[in-house]
């Protein structure tokens, strides 16, 4: 298990150091700095083992979170813990950077004492922790016994005494489309990673049931109703710990008591029938050694009623490029030499539209000719009320003892994951 946790800043200075076991000393922090942070090959592996000591680290915004282990620990557990610790800090202080760590170091120590006991992760639910690990401004008036029941109980993620005047639940279906298109235009890989994020503002202990147009569920229902409906084949899904996995396994019902506020209810993955929101047809020619010509055509492939926002097309240029002459039909495009790319921004892109970019990059003559590795064109966008997988929320039912009425909202969004078009 975890013997120590360190947080370093970019320079490798220790901001937080908490030892849990006697098999490591504080000085082990320097070992990691020397071997990993200051090493040029720093990011070659997230796991470093020196002798019998293993360092597992993640990086976030110039900070290094490092867990030290002396045994053959479950590496996935350690990384999950580090991710979770990061999330915990973010939800406590709003962000996680050197300044916020220094500003809240006492609190971080308190949290670290609570979330890890002898290196074993304990309860890391923000909701519960906020009951008894508090910032000075927020004093908790909850009785200790209640706290302990909460921290060890069945629904560690929810307090019992929540009350809202207006009971509301928001469901966001956020899909990231991953695409790798070969230079010849064949689709090498297209899949959708979906996230269902719920914000629940519900009183008491509500029992929720949630339904999607999942193929497996619909198949079963069709046997009874015989109605043919659009359905989606989900390759795999994962749930928040509040979801009763046993139930899901037996009858595919997603039932749960939600935590209060925002949480990620489920994650899913589909690989079949992905509706790609954009098609990109690039033509990139290296003309002689001194010039590269671009013709990039982007077509939107969703309903005319919808629109993509914050669209960015990144077109790579060779390192030797000196200047670019660019013409675009929509939006603005700019050559950014330090990133070796042309960045083309389109604030709003209506459905079933086309836009094109033509550009010529002039190259400086290099004494030592280097081959251009031709990185892919990358797209970034958001399309509201569109799901690339075709997934729809069919229902969200809320049952509570007091039998109140609740209002439910659903929103769909598709954004670009890694949307790469090779050239």
């Amino acid at each position: 298990m975890i013997s120590a946790v360190f947080i370093y800043n970019q320079k490798g200075e220790v901001l937080i150091s908490r030892l849990y076991r006697h098999d490591v000393k504080r000085s082990i922090a320097d070992v990691f700095r020397v071997h990993t942070i200051s090493s040029p090959t720093a990011s070659r592996s997230p796991v470093t083992t020196l002798g019998s000591t293993s360092f597992l680290h993640i990086r976030y915004d110039n900070l290094w979170l490092c867990a030290v282990c002396k045994n053959n620990t479950n590496a996935a557990l350690v990384f999950e813990f580090l991710y979770r610790l990061l999330g915990l800090c973010v939800s406590y202080f709003g962000r996680f950077d050197e300044e916020s760590v220094k500003n809240n170091f006492v609190l971080i120590y308190e949290l670290l004492d609570e979330v890890l006991d002898f290196g074993y992760p304990q309860n890391i639910e923000v909701d519960t922790l906020k009951l008894y690990v508090t910032t000075e401004s927020v004093k908790s008036a909850v009785e200790p016994q209640r706290v302990t029941m909460q921290a060890t109980g069945l629904t560690t993620w929810r307090r019992a005494d929540i009350y809202y005047k207006k009971n509301e639940a928001f469901v966001d279906v956020i899909e990231s489309v991953n695409l790798i298109l070969s230079a010849k235009g064949t689709c090498l890989r297209a899949d959708v990673q979906g996230q269902i994020v719920m914000r629940s503002f519900l009183s008491g202990m509500p029992e929720c049931k949630f339904g999607l147009n999942d193929k497996l569920v619909l198949d079963r229902e069709q046997k009874h109703s015989g109605a043919g409906r659009e359905c989606v084949e989900i390759a795999d899904c994962q749930f928040h710990q509040c979801v009763r996995l046993g139930r899901f396994d037996t009858d595919r019902t997603i039932s749960f008591i939600p935590p209060d506020g925002e949480f990620e209810l489920m994650r899913y993955r589909t690989t079949e029938n992905v509706n790609l929101p954009f098609k990109v047809l690039p033509v990139v020619r290296e003309v002689g050694k001194l010039c590269v010509e671009y013709e990039v055509l982007v077509k939107s492939n969703f309903s005319q009623k919808l629109a993509a926002t914050n669209m960015v097309v990144r077109v790579p240029t060779p390192q030797a490029a000196t200047k670019c002459r660019i013409k675009v039909t929509v939006g603005k495009a700019k050559y950014i030499p330090e990133e070796n790319m042309i960045v083309w921004r389109i604030s709003r892109f209506q459905g079933l539209q086309e836009a094109s970019l033509t550009a010529v990059a002039d190259l400086v003559h290099m004494t030592k000719p280097t081959v251009w590795s031709r990185p892919p064109i990358c797209l970034d966008f958001q399309v509201l009320m569109f799901t690339a997988s075709g997934l729809l929320v069919r229902f969200l039912k809320v049952f509570e003892k007091s039998d109140y009425q609740s209002v439910k909202w659903v929103r769909y969004m598709t954004k670009a994951g890694s949307y790469e078009i090779r050239i």
Partner: protein, 1228 residues
């Protein structure tokens, strides 16, 4: 509110003032600020411990924030300064009784962190209460505290019955408590040597029920504990699997991976394949989903997928695309993905994969690009149908002219050439365009191999090689070896083109280069070429063993162990946890009736069948069927009598073997370039393709010999252990294999075979025989020695003598020659003797020069150089006049004179003649004729040796008629071994213990002594030291009036009786056992066990020196008891200790170790098993001065490797003592 301002160095006394300030502080704000400063300084690494009094004073403040900081302070400093902790005990005692459960729990938690006796003592009672506290939060914290306690002192936990209380908590109503109790129990059992956690199905079911209610971490702990359930019936395993399958949908990757681990574990106990398939299908999607987690988790997943793919080749079918790399994946993820892609490549998707890999090959990261290029090559080798396309892709990549891409491509193309000879030669021209860009050794070596292999198709191959040769002496060994081989190939294929290069490179290789490998290979080539160019052609240009892509596979037992470690660090490193965690326990599949270890075979189309030994032997047998037949014939020959058997069959087989050996450094190393084994840390078993194949060819031979006697893994281990040795040793090994083949025709027992391997596996560098050792025996044995072997043998020794070959080559000489005699002596088991001889010889190579300057010089030849002296000393069949010019500078003779080899041939002939008086004189004559003709035909013969041949032929035939038999040394051998354990080669060659007697070695050879050859060794039998000698009269006149005298030596050894030998008749030998006493005058010798002896007889006075093994001086009945041992071991300072590693032990069992050591007065005081090793604690006493030796001998469980640590007050003797033990351990 910002605390960042506290992050500045505070002075201790300022902080002290703040902590003790008397200012009004009703809400403790000032104290809190002061404590924050203390904690901030602690974080920065400033020592705040002087403040402990003031800090502890704050413990009573009823503010939970202050309390938490005080606790943090205590955890940090209490261990270093026990007084701090002692002061705090009272505060803790108050807190554990606090009505607030949070404070109670915090106190228990903090106390557990403080490993100070007083705190721990005062923790025990409250802990017992808290384990039964009504608050679950306190109970779960207490469960962890028990674990902390057990890490401090295991005995407390057991004495105070905390374990039982933990077990009770398993039935707790609160799932968090259950989870923590499970976690604590699991770790306690992992770390305790005598507590073993075993859960039955009843508990397992309860735990699984608790799973649903636990938080995610608790689920991990509970799932982990299911690894301690051994299902007794298949249905149990199925139930567990079924009930935890839903965990695969969990959002925490830790839960998912540990669930996969448990499922995989349980799958070993499932009885029916039909049950497994749906389970396997359910494993794939979660694995792919994990690839959407953070990059770190992706990395872990990918590494584990690799393991799972090998265990279950069918999972993740059709999921290939999920593993395509994104442009911005971190490099570690990309590299890991590449491995998975390669594993998933099948004939159907090879095309897509290739396109993808070609894409990667243009990316920026050099490692990634290289690996991508290499992967293309692997696919070419793995999937024959895709080979064409792969080669085209590689050619395209070469056209990019990106330096490292080109180099990498050339390396893999070399492998492709190996795999598919005569298919892609058309691309050589393209390759040759890139010669100038090659600057990496591996790429250069690969290119050179290609040029050499196709020297006859590349028009200017000689020019190209010549260009490479420019930097020969500066090149790394890898390139030098490749060049050497390539030049020789060139010469053989195009003699005119190569005739200028070969002498140059051979001269460099044998004279200028330091690496023994290169020199050895140089000598082999040189001898080969000078002896028989035709033979050289068959050897050098023979078919190469096939290479396959299976090198990336893990060993099955390792795989099984690693699959039980899924998700852990061990699975990432592909190493068992015992390899990097000191206390780790091995995890094995628990034995149960239900244990089935079912596997589901890969679909036949998608993978090549594993090239296992049987297929290898089949394919080989197609090629060499004729050879095998011949071999079989040859197997029978020795039984029919000691007739000279058909040498050609052996010649062929040796051709085959040695060619693979000779080419090993270049093409043969294909397996070594395999990048897939483990790129983070070297894999535990770097099984090398080429090696394996080589082994298979040996196996093949074995099968041909005795109709399929299976080789067991022992031989394999011996082989692997030898991995680092030079090609020459491999030659020795191969030939040893052949030697044993002959033996096994009589006693088909794989043990014999194994021991032969082991014998050959002697570590070249640790032993330095004087090169004379094996020759006389080879000559002396009444053998139908195949002349090929013999030539090898003797030319080797000449070579060794001639050009001051290092120990390694000398050693391999003995291997080869040993085998020569092994082949020869199939009728009387002395196949192994030479090895043993060689073990007994301890004289380091520096000795000859000192010998040269010593008083004994006169006994040797008059040459001044120590090495030459040795050379002549070691060549009993050479007149010094003959050897000296050759050895002085053999390579001056640029026409490749066969001179050096000729004496060898002559010996062969004389041997076969002399030893086979009963043989048909006609056939004998015929063979001699053949040989002579061959020599003449070779046109490189010099007049010198032809006379030798003639004379020896005539001489020997007359001898053959005159004497009854010529096997003088053979009878000697029999006598010598009469009392030893290897009197015969029957199947129990695995020895019954007997005192270790090094085999006799030549003390004086016939040249220096006008025909008297003396062999000898030292032994201790029944407490008496003896010198056992054989006197062989090779002169024409009888020798008599023997007397012996010892010079003063370290331990005063001297003859205890006069040397009682009468007259030794010509061509006769006499055995004598001379009792020795240790009462003589002493003088410190260097080395300590050196002894100088003079022998007087009618032939003159002869001086020589030799060394004895120290074990002859060890006293009987000196066994000490454990107490004494421990006392002495502890009292002897560590600087009087020394450790020594011994390989290739020859023990049949642990029992055997003990017996053997005891028999030689190394007494076992105690023995115990530690992990994979058996530790022996031994003592010995020197009978002369009573020096005591205490050793710890760690012997690996495979009985192959030992580490001897010895302590003695007499540190000078430790090396000799260890050497003696080593010899005992490695003797037969």
């Amino acid at each position: 509110m910002s605390d960042a301002k506290f992050f500045q160095r505070g002075k201790v006394h300022d902080l002290r003032a703040e902590l003790t300030s008397e200012k009004k502080d009703p809400r403790y704000q000032l104290k809190k600020v002061a404590m924050k400063k203390v904690v901030a300084n602690m974080t920065m690494g400033n020592d705040m411990s002087p403040l402990y009094k003031e800090v502890i004073a704050c413990m009573g403040i009823p503010d939970i924030d202050v309390k938490k900081m005080v606790y943090l302070f205590l955890i940090n400093y209490a261990r270093a300064r026990a007084e701090i902790a002692n002061l705090a005990v009272n505060g803790f005692e108050d807190d554990v009784n606090d009505p607030n459960p949070l404070i109670r729990a915090m106190a228990i938690r903090t106390m557990g962190y403080i490993y100070v006796d007083r705190v721990i003592d005062s923790l025990i009672d409250p802990l017992r209460h808290c384990l039964r506290d009504r608050d679950p939060y306190v109970r779960k914290t207490s469960a962890m505290a028990v674990l902390k306690l057990s890490m401090f002192d295991r005995s407390i936990v057991e004495e105070e019955r905390f374990l039982d209380m933990l077990k009770d908590l398993l039935a707790d109503s609160n799932p968090s408590v259950v989870a923590n109790a499970v976690a604590a129990l699991t770790e306690i059992s992992e770390r305790s040597p005598h507590i073993k956690l075993k859960l039955n199905m009843k508990i397992a079911n309860k735990l699984i029920t608790a799973l649903n209610e636990c938080n995610e971490w608790g689920q991990i702990y509970i799932l982990e504990s299911l690894m301690y359930v051994t299902p007794q019936e298949s249905v149990d395993a199925e139930t567990v699997i079924e009930r935890i399958l839903p965990r695969l949908q969990h959002g925490n990757s830790g839960v998912v991976l540990v669930a996969i681990k448990v499922i995989n574990y349980m799958m070993n106990y499932v009885a029916q394949k039909e049950t497994l398939e749906p389970i396997l299908r359910k494993l794939s999607p979660p694995l792919v989903t994990l690839l959407t987690s953070g990059p770190e988790v992706q990395y872990i997943t990918l590494r584990n997928i690799q393991l799972l793919l090998q265990r279950w080749p069918t999972i993740l079918q059709n999921q290939l695309r999920a593993f395509f790399c994104k442009y911005d994946d971190p490099i570690y993820v990309k590299l890991a993905k590449l491995e998975v892609i390669l594993s998933l490549t099948t004939e159907e998707n090879a095309r897509i994969v290739l396109t993808e890999l070609t894409e990667y090959a243009t990316e920026i990261d050099v490692d990634f690009v290289r690996k991508a290029v290499r992967s293309i090559g692997r696919i070419a080798i793995k999937i024959e149908l895709a080979a064409d396309r792969c080669v085209r892709a590689l050619l395209d990549l070469i056209q990019t002219k990106v330096n490292y891409v080109v180099q990498e491509a050339i390396i893999v193309i070399r492998d492709v050439f190996r795999k598919y000879p005569n298919r892609y030669e058309s691309i050589i021209a393209t390759l040759c365009e890139n010669l100038d860009t090659l600057d990496e050794p591996e790429a250069r070596a690969a290119m050179i191999w290609i040029i050499g292999q196709y020297a006859d198709r590349i028009d200017n191959s000689d020019e190209v090689l010549d260009k490479f040769l420019d930097s020969f002496l500066d090149d790394p060994a890898e390139v030098q070896l490749a060049l050497l081989t390539a030049v020789v190939k060139l010469f053989i294929m195009r003699p005119t083109a190569g005739q200028d290069l070969v002498p140059k490179v051979l001269k460099w290789a044998t004279e200028e280069v330091d690496s023994p490998d290169i020199r050895d290979r140089g000598f082999i080539y040189w001898r080969l070429l000078s002896t028989d160019p035709e033979m050289a052609r068959t050897i050098v240009l023979s078919d190469k063993p096939e290479i396959s892509a299976e090198g990336e596979k893990l060993d099955m037992s390792l795989l099984e162990e690693l699959v039980l470690q899924i998700g852990s660090l061990s699975s990432i490193y592909r190493k068992p946890p015992t390899a990097f965690i000191p206390f780790a326990k091995r995890r094995v599949l628990g034995q149960a009736p239900a244990l089935t270890r079912l596997t589901i075979a890969a679909p036949p189309v998608s993978r090549l069948p594993r090239t296992n030994s049987s297929t290898a032997s089949q394919s080989l047998s197609k090629q060499t069927g004729a050879q095998q037949q011949q071999q079989q014939q040859q197997q029978q020959n020795p039984q029919q009598g000691s007739e000279p058997s058909v040498p050609t069959s052996l010649r062929n087989s040796s051709t085959q073997l040695s060619s693979s050996m000779l080419d090993m450094g270049s093409g043969g190393m294909a397996g070594l370039s395999n990048p897939y084994i483990n790129d983070i840390t070297p894999g535990p078993m770097l099984n090398n393709d080429a090696m394996l194949i080589d082994l298979m060819s040996m196996e093949d031979e074995d099968e041909a010999a005795d109709g399929g006697a299976a080789i067991n893994s022992g031989g394999m281990v011996g082989f692997n252990a030898n991995f680092g040795m030079s090609g020459l040793n491999m030659a020795g090994l191969n030939m040893a294999g052949m030697g044993s083949t002959t033996n096994s025709s009589q006693a088909p027992d794989s043990q014999v075979l194994n021991s032969a391997f082991d014998a050959a596996g002697l570590d070249a560098l640790s032993k330095m025989p004087t090169s004379s050792s094996s020759l006389p025996r080879g000559i002396g044995s009444p053998s139908p020695a195949p002349e090929m072997m013999r030539q090898f043998t003797s030319s080797f020794d000449l070579a060794a003598a001639a050009a001051a070959v290092t120990a390694a080559s000398a050693n391999s000489n003995s291997h080869v020659s040993g085998t020569g005699s092994g082949l020869a002596n199939s009728s009387n088991s002395q196949a192994f003797d030479p090895f043993q001889q060689q073990q007994s010889q301890v004289s380091p190579f520096s000795v000859p020069s000192s010998m040269g300057s010593s008083a004994f010089t006169s006994a040797f030849s008059p040459t001044s150089s120590g090495f030459n002296a040795l050379a002549s000393a070691s060549s009993p069949f050479d007149t010094s006049s003959q050897i000296t010019p050759i050895s002085a500078n053999p390579l001056l003779n640029s026409s490749f004179s066969a001179a050096a080899a000729n004496p060898a041939t002559s010996t062969t002939i004389s041997n076969s003649a002399a030893k086979n008086p009963s043989a048909n004189p006609l056939s004998l004559q015929k063979e001699v004729d053949e040989l002579t003709a061959k020599m003449f035909n070779s046109s490189m013969l010099n007049a010198y040796s032809s006379t030798t041949i003639v004379t020896s032929v005539s001489g020997s035939s007359s001898n053959g008629n005159g004497d009854n038999n010529g096997n003088y040394s053979n009878s000697g051998n029999n006598n010598m071994h009469a009392g030893s354990q290897f009197g015969n080669n029957s199947s129990n060659a695995s020895m019954s213990p007997a005192p270790y007697v090094p085999s006799q070695k030549v003390l004086l050879d016939a040249q220096q002594t006008q025909g008297l050859e003396i062999l000898g060794t030292f032994a201790r039998r029944n407490g008496k030291i003896q010198m056992e000698m054989s006197f062989v009269n090779k002169s024409g006149i009888a020798i008599s009036d023997f007397a012996i005298q010892f010079n003063k030596n370290t331990y005063g050894l001297m003859p205890g009786a006069p040397l009682s030998i009468g007259t030794v008749l010509p061509m006769n030998s006499v055995e004598v056992s001379l009792p020795l006493v240790t009462a003589g005058p002493t003088m410190l010798m260097q080395p300590l066990n050196n002894i100088q002896i003079a022998i007087k007889c009618t032939a003159g006075i002869f001086y020589f020196q030799t060394q004895y093994s120290l074990h002859i001086l060890l006293e009987e009945n000196a066994q000490s008891d454990q107490g004494t041992f421990l006392r002495m071991w502890k009292s002897t300072p560590d600087d009087m200790q020394s450790a020594h590693t011994v390989q290739n032990l020859r023990f049949s069992s642990i029992e055997d170790v003990r017996n053997k050591l005891n028999m030689n007065n190394v007494f076992t005081v105690a023995q115990r098993i530690v992990g994979n090793a058996m530790h022996f604690y031994t003592n010995s006493k020197l009978s002369t001065d009573g020096s005591l030796f205490y050793s710890e001998i760690k012997i690996a469980s495979n009985l192959q490797l030992a580490v001897i640590s010895t302590k003695s007050t007499n540190t000078q003797l430790i090396p000799l003592y260890q050497k003696a033990i080593e010899d005992i351990c490695t003797a037969f």
